[in-house]
């Protein structure tokens, strides 16, 4: 007997949950992947600008200047970092990325007058040479960390966590631990490398203060010291970082990416970037250090509008990782080699994915040659091509940023302010602490 097929899907045990449970039951393994959170969370997309009209006076979009110079690390360092734009390149390691990519990041950042950042595994000569302004990360693993490179750095970033996996250490699976990566990290080639989640030589904020002083002593108090935090207990953590002596605090929201970690981390830890930023600003205000300690926000920044909204909410600069990789060709359906576009869809298929959906950075088999140490694959992106694409991308972000700032009547992008924004959803209004559009209502704020 046949009848209609009923297709009432369970809201809790939906096809996605069924797939997850079946896979767990089949293999006894959890998912490890790259990139950031895929779930929809309140974001900068949920805010819009109240640009100038009768009550505000706009600047002419193409002719009147809008300054975007950005200075980071003015608190203590003798040589603060001076940038042409408030858009920086986030820390990504040689190991997770190819040497070509690291060089491309440095070239593009230098052309645009901004900084790039090392990652787990230390500083490569290529990136130091190609980067006018290079931030040197001090990570728990201390892979490749040494005083010579420390003294070559323009700033130091002590990494306590990142948005994709706050509280978790790093991971570089064996297929990416090539001979060169292994040598830089003093590890056997081909092993699954685990980076520690805690620093080896200090624990707690009181010790961090002494650690920061040590790094200042070693570098003769010349360069700024950033402290990077995954966005969890943001208000407390920012205050502790400031108290420990940070010149710059970097907050990485939950949309921030990684080359490899457990999916459960990526999707279920930390808070959205939109929620983290106002909390960080409030912490700086509470400690009366706005303007003295600079704030960089990262985690899911993609567009010039995102940058403008971040600045309006109180960030001094943004930092971009995944957007940068996409600009280089991540998730594109082809790569450019020997003067022509070469289709890469078959290589995506071999990984069980397709262009636009790929998060297989952890495999080292990047079809477009970005997150790989494979000698053949890494030739799919040359430093020249990568640098050109990234420079274009950064240029667009910068133009969009200044366009919005001028439309808000600002001659300096750092003059964007919270009052220039409203929210399109109640959630975004509550997190960003700006009014819901068309109302004076900021959920969660006490009415006077």
């Amino acid at each position: 007997m046949s009848g209609p097929i009923h297709r009432e899907e369970s809201a809790s045990i939906d096809r996605r949950a069924i797939g997850y449970i079946r896979e767990a039951a089949e293999y006894g393994l959890y998912d490890i992947r790259g990139m950031g959170a895929k779930r929809r969370v309140p974001s900068f997309d949920d805010l819009v600008f109240l640009t100038a009209s009768a009550s505000r006076y706009p600047l002419e979009g193409y002719r009147e200047k809008c300054d975007s110079k950005t200075v980071l690390g003015t608190r203590v360092a003798k040589k603060p970092v001076e940038l042409e734009i408030p858009i920086t390149i986030a820390g990504m390691s040689f190991g997770s990325l190819s040497a070509n990519v690291k060089e491309a990041l440095g070239r593009a950042a230098t052309e645009m007058g901004t900084s790039t950042t090392t990652g787990d595994g230390g500083m490569t000569p290529e990136e130091r040479q190609s980067s006018k302004t290079l931030v040197y990360q001090c990570l728990p693993s201390r892979y490749g960390f040494n005083p010579d490179d420390l003294r070559k750095a323009d700033a130091i970033e002590i990494v306590l966590g990142q948005g994709a996996k706050p509280g978790g250490g790093g991971m570089l699976l064996g297929q990416k631990v090539s001979a060169r990566v292994a040598e830089m990290r003093t590890l056997p080639e081909g092993i699954d490398q685990r980076s520690a989640c805690r620093h080896p030589d200090w624990t707690g904020p009181d010790d961090l203060k002494i650690k920061i002083e040590e790094l200042r002593e070693i570098t003769d108090w010349q360069v700024p010291i950033y402290v990077k935090l995954g966005a969890t207990r943001v208000r407390d953590d920012v205050k502790l970082a400031v108290k420990a002596g940070a010149d710059v605090v970097v907050i990485d929201g939950m949309q921030g990416g990684t080359a490899a970690t457990q999916q459960v981390f990526i999707e279920h830890t930390g808070i959205p970037t939109l929620a983290a930023l106002p909390l960080a600003v409030e912490a700086l205000e509470d400690m009366n250090v706005v303007g003295e300690v600079q704030l960089i926000i990262s985690g899911g920044i993609r567009t010039g509008a995102d940058v403008a909204k971040a600045l309006a909410l109180g960030a001094d600069a943004v930092s971009i990782g995944q957007g940068v990789l996409v600009a280089l060709g991540c998730n594109h359906d082809s790569y450019f080699q020997d003067g022509r576009d070469v289709d890469a869809t078959d290589d995506y298929a071999k990984l069980g994915t397709a262009p636009g959906y790929c998060h297989h950075c952890h495999t080292g088999q990047c079809p477009v040659g970005i997150t790989t140490q494979d000698a053949v694959l890494e030739q799919r992106l040359t430093p020249e091509i990568g640098a050109k694409r990234l420079k274009n991308y950064l240029q667009v972000l910068s133009m969009e940023l200044t366009t919005l700032a001028r439309a808000c009547g600002k001659s300096n992008v750092h003059h964007l302010e919270r009052e220039d924004l409203v929210a399109l959803t109640v959630e975004a209004a509550a997190m960003a602490k700006v009014p819901l559009a068309g109302t004076q209502w900021i959920p969660g704020l006490q009415q006077k």
């Binding site: 092993i191 002593e217 070693i218 003769d220």
Partner: protein, 230 residues
Amino acid sequence: MDRVKQFDLAKLSVREVNQFLHHELPGSGIERVEILNPDGSHSIAAGLDCDVAVEIQGHAGYFIAGMNKLASVTVHGNVGWSVAENIMSGCVRVKGHASESAGASGHGGLVVIEGDASSRCGISMKGCDIVVSGSVGHFSAFMAQAGTLVVCGDAGPNLGDSLYEATIYVRGTIHSLGADAREEEMEPADVERVSRLLADAEIDLDTSGFKRVASARSLYHWNAEVHQEY
């Protein structure tokens, strides 16, 4: 010219002394620097990069001789956390006891603790050698990647947890081994290595009774079947 220079931290700041050690000392012909009244100050002689003998006369704080290159630094007293952290070369000697994380993430050179070292001695070491005349605390040589830790006394709980390619030698009692660490046979090469390091450390002790601890390498590749039972 005078080849010895003396600083008194009761009158000068650590910063002033370190600035001299970094910038004025190299090429000056000064061979020995004496630092008086450290009184627990942190980061004394951090970031040295020249062949000089530095004598710290008293107890000192955290990060003494951090990231040392080439210099020989001796502390005539006890030290706080992370003495000689990330040492690259040269020698750092503590005549007294050392607190946590002595020689953490050291890449090269020699660290000598004449007393005891507290927990996490040699954590994350990457090629340096550490010789402890006394005992070491828990989780010593945690995630140690390369180099040698010689312990003439006892070792606390979880010695060598998550070891990579570093080797540990212990003469006294090992409270317990950490994940993936195992005791192995002492080969003639091990005896020679211990003998050489004891001589370098100027510790007058024969090599009998030392046990070798190294990685079982069972954690080099991710294995979901172990259920945290390493």
